[in-house]
Symmetry: C2
Subunit: 729 residues, 2 copies
C-alpha cells in the first residue's frame, strides 16, 4: 500500500504544496503547527485532519476574571541556614517570579516546615505575608526548608518556548479544572470549539489537565524538569479532595519528599501511590467528559504524550477510562517507539519523527544534514518498529521549509514506504521471540519503557549506561515485560519469564533500594534462579547494605561491590576467561560510566576486568566489568554498564540466552553480524534482516530451523525473505 499511516503538517498558505507532498509520501493526515492555521478545506486534502487543542491553557479571558481558579504547584524552598533562633525564609527565592507567585491559601493547613538537619517537622512558624515565612525557635546552624503552594502564573511549555525562541507572546495562564465553574467553562469551550472546527476530525490534545513538573529559576532558566513529576497537579483543592476520598490527610512532604518530588528514580511510597491513583482517577474521569463531547461530534480524540500528560499514566489502571482513540508522541529512539507502540486501549499510536521542519535545520545548504538526521532517527527507531510497530508516523513544523529540499522529500518518501511495509508485516502478529525477559524495578508495568528517563530520553551522564539496556531490548528478538517487586510479592514470578534484569544505581527505584531489604523478595528470586532461570544485573543491581553484603543477590550475581569495609578479605578471582557471552566482542567493551570496586566471589567466571595502570596484576586489585555465575540450576550475569551500541545489544542478547540456558536456541531466525537484526514473523513466514548501519553489511543468516545462508545488505536496508508457509496460530 503506497498510501496511509502518515501525517504531515500543513498551513492555510500552502495547500497545493501540501497536496503534492501528501501524494509523494502517501500521507493521509494533516495537522497544524505552532503559528500556522489549517486550511478551511483541510478535509479535502486528507482523510484525517488534526488540530491542536489546549484544555486548560491560554484562556486568559476566563483566567483574568477567575483569578482564584488557576493552577498551583507544590514546591520546596532552597535549604536555608539558621544562625540565630529565628529565621525568615523568602520562599520564592531561586524561583522565577514571572512563572510563580505565592498561593497564600491557609498556609498553616497546607504547608510544612522541616529542620532538614534533624529531619523533623517544625511547627513554630508563621506565614507573615509578602512571601516570607518566619520560623521561631530555630536551632542555630540547622538548615530549614518550607514546603508551600505556589501559584502557577505561566504555562511551563509556553514559557520554555518563550525563553528558548525569544517569542514575544502573551503569557498563557493555566486554569484549574477542580473548580466547578472553571470545569463547566472548559466543557463549554470544548463544545464550542467542536462546533467551530468542522474542518477537523481529530482533536489533538496538546495539553490535558496538568503539565509535567517544569519550573524556572530567578533568571528564567530551567530549574527543575521532571517529565514524570506530579507537583503541578497538587493544590489545596486537590488535597481536600484527597482527604475526602482516601480518609486521611495528605501532607505536602508526601509529594515534596526532601526535594526529590518523588521523581521516577525514587521508590514510590504508599502515600505517593495513593496520590498518583487519586490524580489518575480524577484526570481520566475529567478528560472522559471532554472525549465524550468530541466523540458526540464525530471526531476522534488524540492525546499528545508530551507537555501535559501527567495523571494519564498510559500503562496505569485508569488510562482506559478516557476512551481515547489515539496517542501521539515524539520518537527519540527505540525506547520511545516501544513506549508509544505498546500503549493499550487506543485504536492507534503515532510517532512524530525527526527532523522537525524548523529553520534551525532547514536552512540553505543544510540538506545533507537534514537527511542524515532523518536517517539516524529512522534507523534507530526502526529496530523497535520491527518488534512492535507504531500505527502511524508523522512530521511536524513548516512543510514549505522541507519542500525546498527535494532530496530530503525523496528520502522521506522512502521512509514512509518502509514504515508502511513494516506495519503490514509486523503490525498484524507478534514476531518470533526466543526468550521472555522481565525488567524488575519498583514501578513495573506502570512505567513500561520509561525507566531511567530524565525528561524525554535525555542524555544524562548518570543514566545512559543503563538506558542502553532498554534501547538494546527495544529491538532484540525477545518478549519484554516490566515487573515490580510488589508483583513478585503478590503473585510470584510469571511462568513465561526466562530472565529477570535488574538495572541501575543503589537507592533508586530502578535498582530497587529498600525492596532489597525484603527477605521474601530476595528468597523468591534466589529460588526462581536456582530452579533454572536467569538473573542479569547491571550497575548496582540488588544493592542494599545489609548482612555484610552490598548486593543482596551477590550469591546469584557472583559479584559484590567493595564498599571499603571488606578490604581485609583477599580477592583472588581476577583472571579473565573467554565465554559464550563475549563470543562476538571485537575490541574493548564499552561499559559507559562503568562501575567501580566490583569483585568476583569464588567460582564466578570473570569475563572482563579492568586493572588500572597504577597496579600490578595482584590479588585485591582490578574491577570486574562482566561476569557469569552458575547458581543451582540457574545462572547470574553481572554487567557494569551497557550504553547502547550494536555490540552491546548483542552482548546483552547472548547474556540473556546464556542465563536462561538456551544458548543452543540463539541461532534461530538470527543474523550473526552484530549490526544486523533479524525479525521473524511466523504467521507469514517472513524474515526481515535489518541493516542498522549506513554501510553495506554481510551476514550469515540462520532461519527458524538453524539453516544457514549468507546475505548482503545495502546501507540502511531491510531485506525481506519468505521461507516456507506461514504457521497457523
Amino acid at each position: 500500500m503506497r498510501r496511509g499511516r502518515v501525517t504531515i503538517p500543513t498551513d492555510e498558505n500552502y495547500v497545493d504544496g501540501t497536496k503534492k507532498i501528501a501524494d509523494l509520501w502517501g500521507a493521509d493526515a494533516v495537522r497544524d503547527c505552532d503559528g500556522t492555521h489549517l486550511p478551511k478545506n483541510a478535509l479535502e486534502i486528507a482523510e484525517k485532519v488534526y488540530n491542536t487543542y489546549f484544555v486548560v491553557r491560554g484562556d486568559n479571558e476566563w483566567a483574568d476574571v477567575h483569578t482564584d481558579e488557576l493552577q498551583s504547584v507544590l514546591l520546596m524552598t532552597d535549604y536555608v541556614l539558621a544562625t540565630e533562633e529565628t529565621l525568615v525564609v523568602d520562599i520564592l527565592k531561586g524561583y522565577s517570579h514571572d512563572q510563580l507567585g505565592v498561593n497564600e491559601e491557609n498556609p498553616k493547613k497546607y504547608w510544612q516546615v522541616f529542620d532538614r538537619t534533624t529531619g523533623e517537622e517544625i511547627f513554630t512558624w508563621e506565614y507573615v505575608g509578602n512571601g516570607q515565612v518566619c520560623i521561631s525557635d530555630t536551632i542555630p546552624y540547622h538548615e530549614y526548608t518550607v514546603n508551600f503552594f505556589a501559584k502557577n502564573l505561566w504555562d511551563s511549555t509556553q514559557m520554555y518556548n518563550y525563553i528558548t525562541n525569544h517569542w514575544d507572546i502573551e503569557k498563557h495562564k493555566v486554569m484549574e479544572p477542580r473548580f466547578e465553574a472553571t470545569f463547566e467553562h472548559i466543557k463549554e469551550n470544548m463544545q464550542k470549539w467542536c462546533a467551530e472546527n468542522q474542518n477537523v476530525n481529530v482533536v489533538r490534545y496538546t495539553t490535558f489537565l496538568y503539565h509535567f513538573f517544569l519550573v524556572f529559576n530567578e533568571m528564567n532558566k530551567e530549574k527543575h524538569v521532571d517529565w514524570f513529576g506530579y507537583p503541578m497537579t497538587a493544590s489545596p483543592r486537590a488535597f481536600d479532595a484527597f482527604e475526602a476520598e482516601y480518609g486521611y490527610i495528605l501532607k505536602s512532604e508526601d509529594i515534596v519528599a526532601q526535594g526529590t518530588y518523588q521523581n521516577n528514580f525514587v521508590n514510590p511510597t504508599k502515600r505517593f501511590r495513593d496520590y498518583m491513583e487519586f490524580t489518575e482517577k480524577y484526570v481520566t474521569k475529567t478528560v472522559r467528559e471532554l472525549v465524550d463531547i468530541v466523540h458526540a461530534e464525530g471526531k476522534e480524540a488524540m492525546m499528545f504524550l508530551g507537555d501535559s500528560w501527567i495523571g494519564t499514566e498510559p500503562y496505569g489502571d485508569h488510562f482506559k477510562d478516557m476512551n481515547l482513540d489515539a496517542v501521539v508522541g515524539s520518537v527519540g529512539g527505540g525506547v520511545t517507539v516501544r513506549m508509544l507502540s505498546e500503549i493499550p486501549h487506543v485504536k492507534y499510536r503515532e510517532g512524530r519523527f525527526l527532523p522537525y521542519f524548523f529553520p534551525d535545520t532547514f536552512f540553505a545548504g543544510n540538506e545533507e544534514n537534514a537527511i542524515e538526521e532523518l536517517n539516524r532517527n529512522w534507523v534507530t527507531a526502526r529496530r523497535a518498529m520491527m518488534r512492535k510497530p507504531l500505527d502511524r508516523m508523522g512530521f511536524g513544523g513548516y512543510l514549505q521549509l522541507a519542500a525546498k529540499f527535494p532530496k530530503f522529500i525523496k528520502r522521506a518518501g522512502e521512509v514512509c514506504d518502509e514504515f508502511r511495509a513494516i506495519c503490514d508485516a509486523a503490525g498484524k502478529e507478534k514476531p518470533y521471540a526466543g526468550l521472555t525477559v522481565a525488567v524488575l524495578n519498583a514501578w513495573g508495568v506502570k512505567r513500561s519503557w520509561m525507566c531511567h528517563m530524565v525528561a524525554h530520553e535525555l542524555w544524562y551522564q548518570q543514566v545512559y549506561s543503563y538506558q542502553g539496556v532498554y534501547e538494546a531490548l527495544s529491538g532484540l528478538p525477545v518478549n519484554v515485560k516490566f515487573i515490580s517487586f510488589d508483583d513478585i510479592k503478590a503473585n510470584g514470578i510469571d511462568e513465561d519469564i526466562d530472565v529477570i534484569l535488574n538495572v541501575g544505581e543503589e537507592g533508586t527505584a530502578f535498582s530497587g533500594g529498600d525492596y532489597w531489604n525484603d527477605s521474601e523478595i530476595v528468597a523468591a528470586i534466589r529460588k526462581w534462579v536456582a530452579e533454572g532461570h536467569g538473573f542479569i544485573g547491571v550497575g548496582e543491581p540488588t544493592a542494599y547494605r545489609k548482612g555484610g553484603r552490598f548486593f543482596q543477590l551477590a550469591d546469584v550475581l557472583g559479584v559484590d561491590k567493595e564498599k571499603s569495609i571488606t578490604l581485609s578479605e583477599d580477592k583472588y578471582n581476577i583472571e579473565k576467561k573467554p565465554h559464550f557471552i563475549t563470543a562476538d566482542v571485537t575490541g574493548e567493551i564499552d561499559y559507559g560510566e562503568g562501575m567501580k570496586n566490583i569483585y568476583a566471589l569464588q567460582g564466578t567466571e570473570v569475563l572482563d576486568i579492568t586493572i588500572s595502570d597504577r597496579f600490578q596484576r595482584n590479588v585485591n586489585v582490578g574491577e570486574v566489568k562482566l561476569s557469569a555465575n552458575e547458581y543451582g540450576g540457574g545462572r547470574g550475569v553481572y554487567i557494569a554498564g551497557l550504553p547502547y551500541s550494536a555490540q552491546n545489544a548483542r552482548l546483552l542478547l547472548r547474556a540473556m540466552f546464556w542465563a536462561s540456558h538456551k544458548e543452543e536456541e540463539m541461532k534461530r531466525a538470527f543474523a550473526d553480524n552484530v549490526c544486523v537484526d533479524c525479525s521473524y514473523y511466523p504467521g507469514s513466514a517472513k524474515y526481515a534482516l535489518i541493516n542498522n548501519t549506513h554501510q553495506k553489511q554481510h551476514t550469515r543468516f540462520f532461519d527458524r530451523d538453524g539453516i544457514e545462508s549468507v546475505m548482503e545488505l545495502n546501507p540502511d536496508e531491510i531485506v525481506w525473505i519468505t521461507i516456507g508457509e506461514g504457521e497457523k496460530e
Copy 2:
C-alpha cells in the same frame, strides 16, 4: 655527631665485618635476625644489643602438654544457602586446616548463628561435632552464617613466612596467657631468658600476646589480613572475663560484625570499644609484668609494632601502663614515620628502613637497585622526619650481604649521617607550623596516622587516593591532630585548630558514616566554620543520605554527590576558574580514583571539573573534582581524591592556607618549588630546604619574614641555613 642512633643486624659469624660497618655508619646497636644468632660478646661491639623475644609463640614443649591453654580466634563461616528446612554448615570450610581447628568449648554459650537474609539471630541449631553445625527450621533460600571459636594451631606470621619463603620449620604454637598456669610459665620463661642472655640489653618483643587478624584459606593462601583486627584476642576465657568485668555478656557478633570484624574502616560500636578497652587493659597489665622482670634485670624493653601489637594501641589510654622503653617498626613512608615518631610514653622510637638485607635484593649485579630502594625509602621518610624525627634508625637482614656492595655501604653511611643531623636539629624542638589542622574521623587520636591503612600502608586501589592526604601531611609545615566525632560532642573543637579535614568513602569510619546523622555534630562544625575556620573534604566527606542531601555538609563544602535522585534539578555551575589553591599546578591534577557525580552548588567556585568526551559542555554534565566555597566567615574546600605527589602536597597546603584565611602567611619559611619542602626551627634559627627528588632543583626561598632568595639544591639534598639568632621559648 658521627656516632649513635643507628642499629644494624649482626651474626655470630660476622663479628669483624659488623665492627667495620658499625664504624662506617656510626652504629651503636646490633640486633639479631631470623636464622642468626648474636655473638657472645655482642656488648663489646655495640652499646645496645637487641634480641628478638617471643612471649607466646613457639614454646611447643609447653603447648603440647597444655593443649587446652592455647589461643583461639573468633571467625565467621562463609555464607551458606539453605535450600530446605535444615542446613548443615561445615564451619571450617574455606579456612586453612593447617592453621585452624574447631574450639568445641560450649558452642551454645559462645557461638551464634545468623540468618543474614533477614539479619536475625537463629537459635534452632546444634553443634553436632566434627566441625558441623546443624541448623533446623531454616527458611529455604536464605543465607546463614555461623560465628564460632576456632583453635589457633599455628602462629600467623610464622605460617606466612613458611608459605612465602617455603621454610621448612616446626609449627609454632601459640599460648593463651589468660590461663594462669600458662602465664606463670610465660613469666618464668622471661626470667630464665634474661638470666641466659646477659649479652643482651634490649629485649625486642617481636610478639607480645596477640597477633593481628591473619588467617589463611583451604589452599593455605592468605584469606583475611587486618593489621588492626581483634579476632585473635577473643576466646571463651576472654569472653567470661569480659562479662565479669563489664557486667554484660559480650556476643560473638560484637566482634564478627557481619564478617567485617569491626576493622579499621568500620565505625566502632560501644560494645566493640568496650572490648578493645578490656583487651588493652589486659594486654598492658600482662606485658607490664614482663617488662618489670626485664627492667629488674637492667635491660630495656622494646616493642615491635608489627606482628603481635594488638591490644597495645600506642595512642590509647593504657599504652603508658606497659612502661616500655622503646618502640620499633618498619618504615614505608612519611605516614609510618609519623605513626612511630609520635608514639608517647617511650624513651625512643626506632624505624627499620629499606631495603631489607635479604638475597632477593642483595644478589650480584643488583647494587644500583639496592641503592635506589634505599634512596627512595629514605627520601620519602625524610619529609616526615623533618617534622617529627624518629630517635633511631636501623636495618634488618644479613649484614654480610650488604657488605658485598661497597657503594651501598657508602650511601647508607651518608644516610645515617643525615639522619643524625636531622635528629639534632629537629629532635629538640617543634618546627615552625603555619597552621594547625585536624583529621576528623571515628577514631580520632587512638588511630593517629593509622587512617585508611590496610595492613601496613599497603597499596590498595580503594585507599591510595585518601592515604595521599596523610602522606602529604606527614611532611608539610603544619601541626597535625587527629580528632574524633566523640571529641567534638564531648569537648567541642580545640581552639588551636585552623582547618578540619574529613577524608574517605561513605559509610566508613574515616568519612564517618552514621556520625553524620548526628545533628549536634553537623551544627557544631557548621558554626565553627562560619566563625572563620576551614573545612576540607576529600572523596565522600560527611556522606550520609538524609534530608535530600548526600553530603551532610554540602552547604559548607559547596558540592554534593548526585545519587540519581536529584537528576531533575538543573546544575549550571560548571565553569572552571583559576584560584589560589591551584596556582602551582602544572598539567593535570591527579585525583587517583577520583569521585564520580559530584556537582557544585550555586556560588561555589569550581576549580576543576571533568567533562567526558561523550558529552557536550552543557548543563547537568561534568564532575567537579576540586572546588572552593565561602561559608559565612569561613571556607570549605572539596577534593575528589589526593594520591601523594609533590604537586598534590602543595595543592593540599594551599587548600589549607586558603580555607583558614591565611593565604598571606603561606610564604613564610617556604620554598616555592613544589619538589622542595622547607622546615624551620625557630629555637635554633635554622631552616632546612629539602629536595625530595633525585634531580637538581632551583627554588625561591622565603624566610620567616618573607624575605626572598634563590637557592639551588643537589639531588636528594638538604640545605641548612641559619638566619639570625634562635628565638627564645
